[in-house]
């Protein structure tokens, strides 16, 4: 197996300390270069399969963060939405106030549900 260090590199590392061989540096390099990489070979999967489920506390914390993000996004959308113009249009079109409120609530619920679904994905 090639340890990746040619003779010139070796000689350089020997001479790196003012003409005196830097033994520690050279030894460290040799030990590292002569070490094979141990293939994972399913090791990681075996470890992951034996891990306990994440704690409910951390799950709840992650969920709270997702809900906070969705509420913040909904607030920004609501702030930018031209409710006054829609209301005026609705009055002009003779749409009842009750049906307008219903549509608004349904739309908000749909947007929040979509946001939560997307965040969980």
């Amino acid at each position: 197996m090639d340890n990746g260090l040619n003779n010139r590199d070796r000689t350089d590392s020997w001479n790196s300390a003012g003409g005196e061989p830097d033994f520690d540096t050279w030894l460290g390099q040799q030990l590292q270069f002569s070490e094979p990489y141990v293939d994972d070979d399913g090791f990681c999967e075996r470890v992951m399969a034996r891990l306990p489920a994440p704690s409910r506390r951390s799950e709840r914390r992650a969920t709270r963060v997702q809900y906070a993000a969705v509420v913040a996004a909904s607030t920004i959308v609501a702030w930018q939405f031209p409710f006054d113009q829609v209301f005026i249009q609705a009055v002009q079109q003779s749409i009842s106030l009750y049906s307008l409120v219903g549509v608004g609530i349904l739309t908000s619920l749909a947007a929040m549900a979509g946001g939560i679904f997307a965040a969980r994905r």
């Binding site: 197996m1 020997w14 033994f23 030990l31 070490e35 293939d39 990681c44 704690s55």
Partner: protein
């Protein structure tokens, strides 16, 4: 994007993100398993079992990890404790078949290696186990003397002494090779 250990640990602890832990396992599995194979006298199956236990124990204890040491140091300490505890419980019997198998594989690999690596392995075999471990941790893994002392549960002075004695012995054992390389 390659996240550092601290970010991955934060994800595991705060979000329960097991994929982040899988990153850590993949990052350290080769080094840890190789180190433990040396510590288990070549018994690869035992070393892998110990490495697996160490990763699982580390995962469970991760919320208590304060970050005042590197994750790798902490992981090694857990792994070394496991092996030492196993050795104390079990008499120093070694799975001889596994050792023979490993040595056979090693000898095939050694035959393919250049002379330097083979000489280095032979020289390392001449060291005492504690000296070998100290050299492995400090010179091969790059841990400081303090970190190695913490992992091996030995006084700092003892670890320094092991490293110094090992260094002197290795310098003597590799003297012939050194002269050959320096003279070109």
């Amino acid at each position: 994007m390659d996240l550092n250990d601290e970010d991955l640990i934060r994800r595991v602890v705060e979000d329960g993100d097991q994929r982040a832990y899988a990153h850590l396992v993949r990052r350290y599995q080769s080094q840890l398993r190789f180190s433990l194979r040396q510590l288990c006298d070549g018994d690869q199956a035992l070393a892998d079992d110990m490495a697996q236990e160490a990763f699982i124990k580390a995962y469970k204890a991760l919320p208590a990890f304060r970050g005042d040491a590197r994750f790798s140091t902490w992981l090694y300490r857990i792994a070394y404790n496991l092996v030492m505890s196993y050795r104390r419980k079990k008499s120093p019997e070694v799975d001889q078949e596994a050792v023979d198998r490993a040595q056979q594989e090693e000898s095939v690999e050694e035959a393919q290696q250049l002379g330097m690596a083979r000489d280095l392995n032979s020289a390392m075999e001449e060291l005492s186990e504690a000296q070998r471990q100290a050299v492995h941790l400090c010179m091969q893994r790059g841990f400081s003397h303090e970190e190695a002392a913490s992992i091996m549960k030995l006084p700092l002075g003892t670890v320094k002494s092991h490293v110094n004695r090992a260094r002197a012995k290795l310098q003597t054992l590799l003297q012939a090779w050194r002269e050959e390389v320096v003279s070109g």
